[in-house]
């Protein structure tokens, strides 16, 4: 651990290469890809973007860093949930490709998604 932080003997080499090799060591399939969203992991959604979205609400003045993080995390969970629920409809239609109509069906059928009705293009 100390070794990686220690002396910047060859910073020029370390900066670009270490990025790639560190990710390979962790078994990452893509460059810059963060680890999976297990409950304990940091959010993959950019907090700055989430915060900007939150601030479009005129009633919101300030939001703590933690609250932004929790919303980001909840949004990840939401995406997972809606994708899985929509998949059920694709499978009913004997399809392996999730389509827009599967989303629409899920939104109509599932109470928790009622807030989405009429909001998507």
């Amino acid at each position: 651990m100390a070794a990686t932080v220690a002396t910047p003997a060859t910073p020029a080499e370390l900066v670009p290469e270490r990025c790639g090799s560190e990710e390979e060591a962790r078994g990452e399939p893509e460059d810059g890809a963060p680890p999976p969203a297990a409950p304990g992991r940091p959010s993959r959604l950019p907090l700055a973007r989430i915060k900007a979205l939150m601030k479009t609400d005129p009633d919101v003045s300030l939001a703590s860093q933690e609250s932004v993080f929790i919303i980001a995390k909840a949004t990840e969970l939401f995406v997972e949930m809606i994708a899985k629920d929509a998949l059920v409809y694709a499978q009913q239609g004997k399809r392996k490709t999730l389509q827009r109509k599967d989303l629409d069906n899920a939104i109509e059928a599932i109470d928790e998604f009622a807030f989405l009705e009429g909001t998507l293009d």
Binding site: V5, E80, I82, F115
Partner: protein, 154 residues
């Protein structure tokens, strides 16, 4: 021009990744479905924010906090999210605490080194930013190692 909610989409790559990992192998997602999910996610953020903000206002607070968001999840009938969110919050709080200590130490080091060599310190900052990200993740597992570094560099 002010940013409208519709303009602020979440990054496609991240959304796609989350979807892909939630679904079994061999399942594809059409572009339209992906776009719709991304839009839904933005709407979710707005709705959750509004809901959480109501709780903050009720408590006469101007700053939205994590508790407000958790209360909002319950209100929105996403109770299933509560436990994973609480767990994630714990980990996040620990990470933030360690990060603060480490970045303060690094700031002190940077000040020492910038006197020595201007070019080198710029590259170090880039390097240190990456290290901070890594350490954020490793922080939970190796708190002693961080403490050790501080001693060494002192």
């Amino acid at each position: 021009m002010a940013e409208r909610p519709e303009d602020l989409n979440l990054p496609n790559a991240v959304i796609s990744r989350i979807i892909k990992e939630a679904l079994p192998d061999g399942v594809n997602v059409s572009k339209e479905a992906r776009r719709a999910i991304s839009q839904a996610a933005s709407v979710f953020v707005l709705y959750a924010t509004s809901c959480a903000n109501n709780f903050a206002m009720k408590a006469k607070r101007k700053t939205l906090n994590a508790g407000d968001v958790l209360a909002a999840m319950e209100e929105m009938e996403f109770e299933r999210f509560l436990q994973p969110l609480r767990d994630a919050l714990e980990v996040y709080k620990k990470g933030q605490k360690g990060k603060k200590e480490v970045s303060e130490q690094k700031r002190r080091d940077r000040e020492k080194k910038s006197d020595a060599d201007d070019n080198k310190s710029r590259e170090e900052e880039e390097e240190e930013e990456e290290e901070e990200e890594e350490e954020e993740q490793r922080m939970e597992e190796e708190p002693e190692a961080v403490a050790e570094e501080e001693e060494v560099e002192n």
